[in-house]
Symmetry: C2
Subunit: 234 residues, 2 copies
Amino acid sequence: MRSMTRHKPGRPDRRRAGLLTRERIVRAAIELLDADGETGLTFRALAKRLSTGSGALHWHVADKHELLSATTADVVTAAMDRVRDRAAPADEIRDVALGLFDAIDAHPWVGAHLSREPWQSAMLQIFERIGMQLRALEVPDKAQFFAATALVNYVLGVAGQNAATARNPAHGGDRDAFLAATAASWSELDPEMHPFIRQIAKQLPGHDDRKQFLAGIDLILAGIGLLGPRRARR
Amino acid sequence: MRSMTRHKPGRPDRRRAGLLTRERIVRAAIELLDADGETGLTFRALAKRLSTGSGALHWHVADKHELLSATTADVVTAAMDRVRDRAAPADEIRDVALGLFDAIDAHPWVGAHLSREPWQSAMLQIFERIGMQLRALEVPDKAQFFAATALVNYVLGVAGQNAATARNPAHGGDRDAFLAATAASWSELDPEMHPFIRQIAKQLPGHDDRKQFLAGIDLILAGIGLLGPRRARR
DNA sequence: ACCTGAACACCGTTCAAGT
DNA sequence: ACCTGAACACCGTTCAAGT
């Protein structure tokens, strides 16, 4: 088995299945993260899966931080590439946001890393895409920066929440059961101290995360629409 | 030294300095987190600081997760208590948001834990306070839930960013140097790929995080103002 | 150049043993 | 009831030694 990975010197054949490359490492790391969550990704587990030693991984990837950034960039780039150009800038912003939401929904660990490492290339891609749409919306120059930041921060906030919810082992990953239990515990809170929480507890079961996420985006877009000469489509 | 911590049986004297209590543990943990960051808090370091064994800590605090939740709740509660009631609901929302911003600025690790554990009591406090102001603003009932969620998610997003920035060791914690270096590297990006990033790079040095944070809150409040019968003050 | 895997310096948590 | 601290089962990372 191990001897199969030997290859003649010179330009290495990168298509060879057994060859250890950064790309193969990142792909395996993503599989591990998806299967076992953030705690499932260790250099030992990764080495085992790739039938190699932990030192070999460190030859291609400096440290765990770099590994997580690479996996995150991979997922975000794929999600961004999937977003098509739209005629209405506000629609494209919605698509970008939803694309990220869905990507993070499928890979919750991305949400955690994205909010921990905001200066990575993944963030730049998101920022760029949103910023260009704000330009197209003719948001005033000075406002574009903070408008983009507001949108990105909101997305990151939701991303972190989703990651946390996915990580939460309560009720064995049964989302409906989790929401029902949360709603029940909220309903038992002191009415004096927590009137609002008790009120929204009723809306919690069966509420649509994705729709709620988009409603927040629309709220910010509506606010942005008030800034400039041209309104965000409403 | 050790013998000083002995006390007679029965109701323990909780004012005794040497006595190990959950409160004292949490307080010491906060000091450790503030001084050395998230990686600085270990049960070993904490035990040493309190001149005890790690097992003693686990007697009072189940695990690290609970310890972090307790420290976070401590800081958030203090910040919320500092916010005064305001006549205009939108102003109170701004004060709540700024209070959180400042608390997280002073204790960046709070931002990280808050976005990782959104179902803790700290979050409930924030949610409650913001929700009541939305009621006062006469935001339609059905919209209150997602309006509050949007605000909270935005705050969490910024919180995570701040935690990440504070954690970033680049330029030895010199924020101005960090911003200048980031702006410089952004200016060198491909103009075809990153026109927007290059544009905002100019605005990056010397920009005011707190002001930008508040601008985002105002954007969301403006959007909320369009929802209901009564407008958020603008 | 690339890989191996033992070794190092850590973790959180448990638990028999003490007081 | 509360505390001690060694022991256990892990980590990420390094590095001499191999090919």
